[in-house]
Structure formats: C-alpha cells, structure tokens
Amino acid sequence: MKRFAVGVLLVFLLCFGFVALGNTQETKIKAGFIYVGPIGDFGWSYAHDQARRIVDDTYPWLETVYVEAVPEGEVEGVIDRLINQEGVDIVVTTSFGFMDGTFSAAQRYPDKIFFHCSGFKRAPNMATYMADFHQVYYLNGVIAGALTKTGKLGYVGAFPIPELKRHINAFALGARRVNPNAEVLVRWLQTSWYDPAGAKEAAESLIAEGVDVLAFTEDSPTVVQVAAEHGLPSFGHYSPMYKFAPNFVASGQLVHWEAIYFDFFAKVYAGLYTPKNLGNVDYWWLLREGAVELGADFGMPINPVFEDQLKSTIVNDPVYGEISVYDLVFALLKAMADPEYAFSPFTGPIRDRKGNLRVPEGVRLTMDELITMEWAAEGIVGAWPGEPE
C-alpha cells in the first residue's frame, strides 16, 4: 500500500513538475536493467526485476528492458548493446561487480545516465544507490533473541563481505539486547550467492550444533525450508518467504527497490537529474524511505503465529523499561523509521568479539564505516575471514 501511495504521489508531482518547469523532455524514457543473476533466483536479481516491473507499470512514460545473467566482465558489452541496439537513455546496473564497467561506460557515453547499485564510484552522469538491511536485521535479532530456547542463533552467509558482516552484526546486537547471552553461529558458503545444497547442509550443520532460530543471506528459500522441516523459526531474506513455511517464518527482511527507482526515474524525467549533475547522488535508503521493510511477507512485520509468544516475553530494556518484546520491536521500528533517524543499531558503546572498542559511547557509525565493516560483534561464533586484529 505504502509503495503505491508513494508512486501515486510522485506521478502527481511529476505532472505538476512537467507543467511548472516547461518540460522539453522526450515523451518517453527508456531504461535498461542489467542483472548479474537470473531473475528466477527469488533473491537479489528477482527483487530488482520485481521493482522494475512495478515502476514500468506505474510510469506511463517509462519503458524498460532487462538483461539477466550477465557475468561481471561482460557488462560493458551489454551496456553498449543496450544503448546502441535498444536506444536506452538510462542504464541501471544492479551488482557491485559492474562498477568499473559502468564507470568506464559512463565516460564513453556522457549523454546517458547510469545508475549503479551498491557501488561507490560516481560521475556527473553516474549515480549510486543502495537499500540496506542492517536496521531490519537488528529487529530480526530482537525477535530471534526472544524466540530462541537454546540461546543459539544461526546464520548462513554466502560470502564474508562487509554487507553481510554488517547484517550479521546488527542481528547479533539486536538479539543480545533482549538476550544478553545469545550467540550467533555463522557458516559461510563461499561458493556462490545461489547455492541451495550448500545452504541446506550449512543450515543442517547449524541445527546439529543446537541452533534453533535461523537467518541467512543466500538467493533461495532453502534455509527457511530446512528450518521448517525441523520445526524451527527462521527469517525470510529479500523476497517474501512466508509462503514457504507459513508457520515458521517469524519475520524477515524485505526490499522495495522500487522506492528508489520511483524517485530516481521521476527526477530524471522532470529534469532534476541530468547527465551532468549526478556526481553526488548517492541513495543510502533504509526504513525511513521505505526502501526496506520488516516482514515475513509484505504487510506482515511479525508472523501472527509468533505474536503471543513475543507479547508474553517481557524484558527489562535500558531505554524502554519493562516492555514486551513485541512492543519493543515496534517501538524500535518507529524510532529507526523516524525522519530524524532517532535510533541507529550501531550506536556505541560496541565492542567486537575480540574486545576492541569499535564504536565509542554515544557515537553512531557513519555510512562509510558501515559499508566497510569487517569486525565481528560480541556473541558471534565461527569463521570470520578478513577479521581485523
């Protein structure tokens, strides 16, 4: 509902803007989307494609095409074809690995606009964007900390890069807020983002170690299914995974790339964003902007099956006092979605698992520190390649 409202608002704004600015743009804008994986993966590329469809359907002046399963080294060739063969005006590249290719293409086509996801290189005609889950993971952690009976939470991660480390840390921090002795056991796949057999065996090995709540980053609902087979709660990732185990998906992280796409494309169409002024355009969108959502499914922040348990679990919270975990989740959600960003999961003091103080008291991590995070929070157990001393 929310994203539709945003879309309608923007369309309305657009018509007004069109008239007001005496717009001389073409009547149609064509955008080409490049995905690193297949859109059927029900993970990263799938979510981008869903967002593309929503935006394409909503904006009558927008036409989109997409290319899936593009290896990182091939992106420049695909960009060339999109521009020369399909005549696109905007190229959207949805993987970090496309960064250098997008950047060099941006130099070669100074009149075209480039929109790169999860990277850090920008140019007058190249902007960047990202929707991050760390806030949602924090809330997932709070829920997990309350649901676990063994005190062991499990996380199956694909590759030990800062994005995942940030998410696992947020998960651990949230869990330990309500359950100070909770541990997060981590298993890495390190084969590819899509590895259902690995995800299954990793999840099974975690469960064999006594884990009773699972979260993950991998492009399939395997972990959810494995957890459900054992009767354990889990958190869906990226796409609504409630349907795979309606009685066991407690919550999850959901993404709304379309929130970002609505904004960006509208601004391009209205002439606010041109191939000359994108050098500082960097979307780092979170709960506040509606780019991510807490939930097992859209509109379901907490699975009703777990409501009673969470409502009856009372904790003594340093900020909110005596409060049920259920209310705590929503209070924190409100605080993080607040336009003034009233609360950040990474507010100090925070020590890493080796005892070093990573975030001083009263300090919040900056965006830069968030996106280059390599350390592991307290309570995390397992291999952590690249852990700093």
Partner: protein
C-alpha cells in the same frame, strides 16, 4: 536387376566438403532454432536478423565475437594437441585460473619494474598453468590416476584458491571489503585494437598458438610421437616412444596455454582478480567442444573458436533485444552441436544408388574404401 543403396566410407573428406557440410548443418540448426523462437513468441526472421547483426553485423559486433574467440582459440589449440595424444585434459578451467592468479601476483605484488610486468605475467602465467597441468601428468605417470579425474578435481581446487585469495590476503584496499583484488596498474592493461575491447596481444597470440600447435603436430617428431601415443601406450611402447614424457609435455603445453588465456582475461578484460566463475566463464569447458568440433586440428580450432565466439556474441544481442530467458542459449548451442556431429557422418559416408545384378549378395557391411 535392382536398385541398391550402397554405403561407402571415405577415408578423409576434402576441406571443401567439411566446410560445405558444416555450413549446411549450421543452417539446419538455425532453422530448428527458428521453431524455438516462434515458441517463445518471437518472429524467427527477426531473431535471425538480430543474431546476425549481433555477431557479424558491424565492426563492434565482430569485435565482440573475436573477443570471445581469443581465449577459446588459445585454450582450444592446446587441447587439440592434448586430444591428439589421447590425453583428456578437462582441467583447462583450473589452469586458466592458475594463470590468472599468477598474473595477478605479478601485477600487484611482485617487485618487478613496470616495464617487465606484462611479459612476466605471461611467462609466469604460462608456467603456472603448465605446472598445474603437469601435476595431472605426474599423477597419471607415477600413480596411474586417470587424468580426467585429476584435471577435473583440480578445477575445483583452483577455484577455491581464487576465492581464498580474493576474500583473504589479496583482498583489495580500494574495494570496500568486496571480494576483489585492487585493480591492476595501468601498465599491465592490455592495449586494445582501436575502440574495440579486443586485446591486441592475445588476439595475435591466438593465431600464433594455433600455428605453433599445428606445426608441432604435423611437422615435428614430437608431434608424430604424440600422435602415436594417441593411438595407445602399447603402440608407443612398440615404437620406442617415451609415452610418459610425451604425456607430461602435452599437459604442460595445454595447461600453459590455458594459463596464458587466463592472464589474457585478467589483464585484458577484468584488470583485477574476481570471483572464479566470472573469470573463466566456462571457457575451459567450451574449449573442449571447440577442439572436438575442429577434430583436434589446431587450425580448425581457429574456425570453431570463431563460430562459438559468434554464437555467444549473437546470443548476447538476442538477450538484449528480446529479453528471452538466458537458458535459450544452451538450447541453441546444443542444437548446433547435434547438427554438426550428425552432419559429420555425411562427411565420412557416401550413400550411392546403383543398379545391381540379381545375383549379387546382400552384405551387411558394404565398406569400400575410396
């Protein structure tokens, strides 16, 4: 008097026959693919047009074709030599990756002066891939382990080695923690031909490699020896040829060429080390098909590598133009292969109709050598 079909076998089809039949089979494959496109709701003619334009229709398209042809030709030439010795090197993927690793080390971590970096990358990359292949030879010679399994398993080891390096000690300082190395210094970025993305050095090297391998196979004693080994170690033994040494050298060569292809990819295309699947792109396996289709003739490899480069390039254009499922490419490739090998039979057998007298016996095996 009655009519009879007589099947006669040709010893060696002429080059023009090969060409003619190959083209015919490709056309047939495309005809059938047209049905596939129609099934997907795309006009076959439109699809052909886009494909042709995407593979050959412009200088740009040709450059994309050639860009893919290069690693296929380099690896394929080595594999052609290997297959003629009946040494089944399935490890080109891993050998490529080792070459890429060695090349990365030279580019980023070696103490050499900038002017020596590029030659060192190629020479050491060759050695890296060569030793990776030679290890399989050692396993075969000393431990009697079939090289298929050794080379195949070593692929996985090489891929994991790349992952270990990019996630650990070689993770770049400028890549914000993602799994890549730092970009290579500009000195080792291969110069490209004009405005295309075809690296000049490896382009020339592809032809050199093919010529060298052809020369090696047909004009040297070693080539003769390895072809005898290809018939069986017993035959080699009878001829007094040291089969084990031949096997080792063959794996050394084909592994080294794959290594060079790997260096070419990281210094010409990626300019860094990244996830192994994105570097090798299945070239090591496609090159096996390339070599087979060329009947293990290194010069023929140039043609079949070009064919596959065109297939990949044209399919890219199709992907962009129609948004068809990317798995369609596999169907297309499979069809092309089936038609190519089916047509091979046409090359080797000639069916004639002749008038035969009544008394002539019916013979199941009517083999008359030309």
């Amino acid at each position: 008097m009655r009519l009879r079909f007589q099947v006669t076998r040709r010893l060696e089809p002429s080059a023009s026959m090969v060409f003619f039949v190959s083209v015919l089979s490709l056309l047939l494959a495309f005809l059938v693919s047209g049905l596939l496109f129609a099934f997907l709701g795309i006009s076959p003619l439109e699809a052909y047009r886009v494909f042709w334009r995407g593979a050959f229709g412009s200088l740009y398209a040709l450059s994309e074709t050639v860009k893919r042809m290069i690693p296929l030709a380099i690896i394929g030439a080595g594999l052609a030599v290997s297959f003629q010795a009946s040494v089944w090197n399935i490890g080109a993927e891993g050998q490529m990756l080792i070459g890429a690793i060695v090349g990365t080390w030279v580019a980023l971590f070696s103490p050499l002066p900038p002017s020596l970096l590029l030659p060192a990358m190629f020479i050491l990359g060759f050695l890296g891939g060569a030793l990776w292949g030679a290890f399989a030879a050692w396993c075969r010679n000393r431990l009697a382990i079939n090289e298929i399994i050794t080379t195949l398993m070593l692929n996985y080891v090489a891929a994991n080695l790349v992952l270990y390096l990019i996630l650990g000690p070689w993770k770049g300082k400028t890549v914000r923690g993602f799994a890549y190395t730092d970009p290579f210094p500009q000195e080792v970025w291969l110069a490209t031909i004009g405005t295309t993305r075809v690296p000049l050095m490896t382009f020339l090297f592809a032809f050199l490699a093919a010529l060298f391998c052809y020369f090696l196979l047909t004009k040297t004693t070693f080539g003769f020896e390895l072809r005898v080994v290809g018939r069986g170690e017993k035959a080699a033994h009878l001829a007094g040829i040291p089969a084990q040494r031949v096997v080792a050298l063959v794996l050394f060569l084909s592994g080294g060429l794959a290594g060079i292809a790997g260096v070419g990819e990281v210094s010409g295309i990626h300019h860094m080390l990244r996830h192994p699947a994105h570097i090798s792109l299945g070239y090591g396996f496609t090159a096996i098909i390339v070599a087979w289709i060329a009947r293990a003739n290194p010069l023929g490899v140039l043609a079949s590598a070009f064919l596959f480069g065109a297939l990949m390039s044209g399919q890219d254009a199709l992907k962009v133009a129609f948004g068809i499922p990317f798995q369609v490419m596999y169907i297309l490739n499979g069809l092309v292969l089936f038609f190519l090998i089916a047509s091979e039979q046409l090359l080797y057998y000639r069916v004639t109709l002749r008038v035969a007298p009544w008394g002539e016996k019916e013979d199941e095996c009517d083999r008359v050598l030309d």
